[in-house]
Subunit: 316 residues, 2 copies
Amino acid sequence: MAIQAISWSPSGAVRIIDQRALPEAEITRDLESAESVADAIRQLQVRGAPLIGIAAAMGLVAAMREQRTAAVNLRWALDRMVRVAEGTPGEGADLWERLRVEATAIWEEDRAMCRQIGEHGLTILADGAKVLTHCNTGALATGGIGTGLAPIYLAHEQGRKVHVYVGETRPLLQGSRLTMWELMHAGISCTLITDAAAANLMRQAKVDAILVGADRICANGDFANKIGTYGLAVLARHHGVPFYCAAPWSTVDAALAEGDLIPIEQRAAAEVTVMAGRPIAPDGAAALNLAFDVTPARYVTGFITDRGIVQPPFAA
Amino acid sequence: MAIQAISWSPSGAVRIIDQRALPEAEITRDLESAESVADAIRQLQVRGAPLIGIAAAMGLVAAMREQRTAAVNLRWALDRMVRVAEGTPGEGADLWERLRVEATAIWEEDRAMCRQIGEHGLTILADGAKVLTHCNTGALATGGIGTGLAPIYLAHEQGRKVHVYVGETRPLLQGSRLTMWELMHAGISCTLITDAAAANLMRQAKVDAILVGADRICANGDFANKIGTYGLAVLARHHGVPFYCAAPWSTVDAALAEGDLIPIEQRAAAEVTVMAGRPIAPDGAAALNLAFDVTPARYVTGFITDRGIVQPPFAA
């Protein structure tokens, strides 16, 4: 059983798992205010693009519990929520209830979307398949059973044997801290490796497929994802290993023609030079810490979406 | 100026830098006994194949200071030392002095060898060159200015601008802890990256050459080196980046036909799952921790040795 990364608390707060503390501690937090949800997102207590969207939507509702007649905080400007708000005359309890229904619907749709990705992705996972994944694209990144991990959860549910090699995903170790935790929690066979060990596994023919997620997919199929994804794609091509990108169809940004147009976020050097509060590089060491890289579409065997396994170009 | 990883203390002990403590602390240790040198090697206080050989030779001499008439401890069975011992009649002070001369000669030869590698490697480093390296193949791994880093030290010495991208080299972080430290100590421009970020740098044409070391080179040119080397070689080929292996000619094991014959050491899972004493993966997580991988000769642009930049096959 995949864990549930987000839910309503009995009192109507947004209940999350603090992902920073994993896997050492399983800390559940009930977020009551807009600020606490914003802080949780900023501090990476919740992470994963789908989950952040859901948390923002649900947080908007939770925040308004105590101020049902107050003006809507548009900081997260969620189109759907705004449309509901705009379509609802009056203020107060009625608006709040409709936003709650809408936020819950967004969550339910996400859960269904995850299962659809899983169903389509199942076709690539034979019994005994060995899959390599990177970062965390599972139940901790969505409202449901994940994107990249969804096919693996469903294969396991159906009794197929699967084994997952999990790249630790430096610098923030989402692979070792989060993916290993949720796969072990679900009883799915998994082995942690350092990121640089992936090439050797492929050379030894120990990887049948690679499954990664996507932060953003361009019209031509180029996509942005956690740093290291591009290297895996090149290595997969070189070794003849199928390389799949699993993501909700909504990740496609048809207005963005190609990957070179995506600006790449540079994050703090300290994420690379400091580990668990201890320096692991010399004082003053310069570090280049890019959040993600761009993988050209030509390296992708297929995009596993809730609409099926598809190929670019993607129209709006 | 490169640091000096090993030397004689004024009292005749083997003086080393405890590489476990780098870069947080620069701890010098004087090893007085055979046991302390063996412990230092086991505990990775000294590391790098050339340096271990030198430490063993020098340790043999230091250990015998107090027991000049005692039997030679053959635990490290260094051929040269044994030959000197065998060729020297009698015991005691005379034998010790000859072993000391021999151990010092081994060290001096290593220093000269490093410079020769540097001189030959200089030809591939134009002014302004950007080089990517992995693990530590520098002054901390040899008695001199290193193997893979030797051309970089010499280029810097001659006033050429060079920039070094240093892969952190998980799990033991020899790149961030050691290579960054010695390059910064020498005033050489360097930037730390996570191992998985290398592919993106190559795609952005920010790498002019890759320089790595070798633990063992086969007759056909396949070579073993720190895990991650093989992946860099494949990525270099894909992006048209020259890929060089720098090593003493003595690293060639002409009796070993090809890389598939090299057994790959598996190290403790805890090196991957625990960092700085803190768990970074769930309790009980399985981890595959291979010490090195094998890179087939066809990926190597050239082998930079003390005898020149050479190509396989290598005869005995």
